[in-house]
Symmetry: C2
Subunit: 180 residues, 2 copies
């Protein structure tokens, strides 16, 4: 798995940024659908990257404000990023609490099953709507468009599957609850 240092280098390869701004990339930007990193891993990562000379800190303009630290990638950093990018990528992994829960559907009240599936469908429909708007307005590189399109494709597949098979699962749970 790609580590947080590499994730940070990736963001910085697009332009200078602070730790806070890097975080936002993983929360909102195109990368957000397939990567993740919190402050607890970003700040230590930046510290290590500094030590290794892969980034430098820009002298802050003394604007006052709570000391924003801007970082810039160095040639050494670009080289390290490239080395990480050409390594064979490890397998994709989807972690889903919902799927774990549903695989034990027989232990739960049918009404509850129906509700959590319905809620999740709404979440996905919302994300899809947001992506459809952003995708047509925001400026993106071909790579970013590709990745965003993949996110959209997956969200649509999941939402569609949940909608189509929701009733099967709830019906099976209902039958079982009547036997018991």
């Amino acid at each position: 798995m790609i580590d947080v240092k590499t994730l940070c280098l990736g963001v910085l390869s697009r332009g200078d940024a602070s730790g806070y701004e890097i975080r936002k990339e993983f929360e909102e930007g195109p990368l957000s659908h397939f990567s993740d990193a919190g402050f607890g891993s970003i700040y230590p990562a930046l510290k290590r990257l500094l030590d290794e000379g892969q980034i430098v800190m820009l002298p802050h303009n003394g604007d006052g404000r709570p000391d924003k630290k801007l970082y810039r990638i160095t040639p050494a950093g670009r080289h390290a990023l490239y080395q990480a990018l050409i390594k064979t990528p490890s397998a994709d992994k989807l972690r889903s609490d919902l799927m774990f829960i549903l695989s034990f559907g027989h232990l739960l009240p049918p009404r509850h099953l129906d509700r959590i599936i319905g809620d999740r469908i709404s979440d996905y429909r919302q994300m899809i709507a947001t992506l459809e708007v952003e995708g047509s307005t925001a400026h993106r590189t071909p790579g970013e468009r590709f990745v965003e399109g993949m996110g959209l494709a997956i969200y649509r597949a999941v939402a569609g599957y949940l909608e189509e098979h929701r009733h099967e699962l709830v019906a099976a749970a209902l039958m079982e609850s009547q036997v018991a």
Copy 2:
């Protein structure tokens, strides 16, 4: 996110198992598509579950063999599992090194892009074929069938998207490499 203790309780709720067998569930079973846990987290988790009285160790039949330890869930364990299952599930998250890499496609040789995408398509097609066979033979609860079907739906969506958009991305990278 659901922790490894709960994942273990889930597996044990279906029947007694050893740490090794629990691991196999996450590697091969229907849960494998959406959960994950290695020995380094399973063994400590089992130890804690023992301390908390949520599982017990069965007296091993002294068969010789490298000391297989069978665990069984207790009523307290089933209760803890239930409590975990009815909590609102956190959002699904797909971690994909490939997508991170592709979003920096402009930094890589077009040939390389084409190759890693092609490789990944083969991986997915292989997984889909395996799932299609298993799905029609193995015995599954409704919940397990539902989850396995979701895995299949996602894999098909990803493989399809990669196949359909592969050339766009590679073509864009080619154009850029000619400009430079």
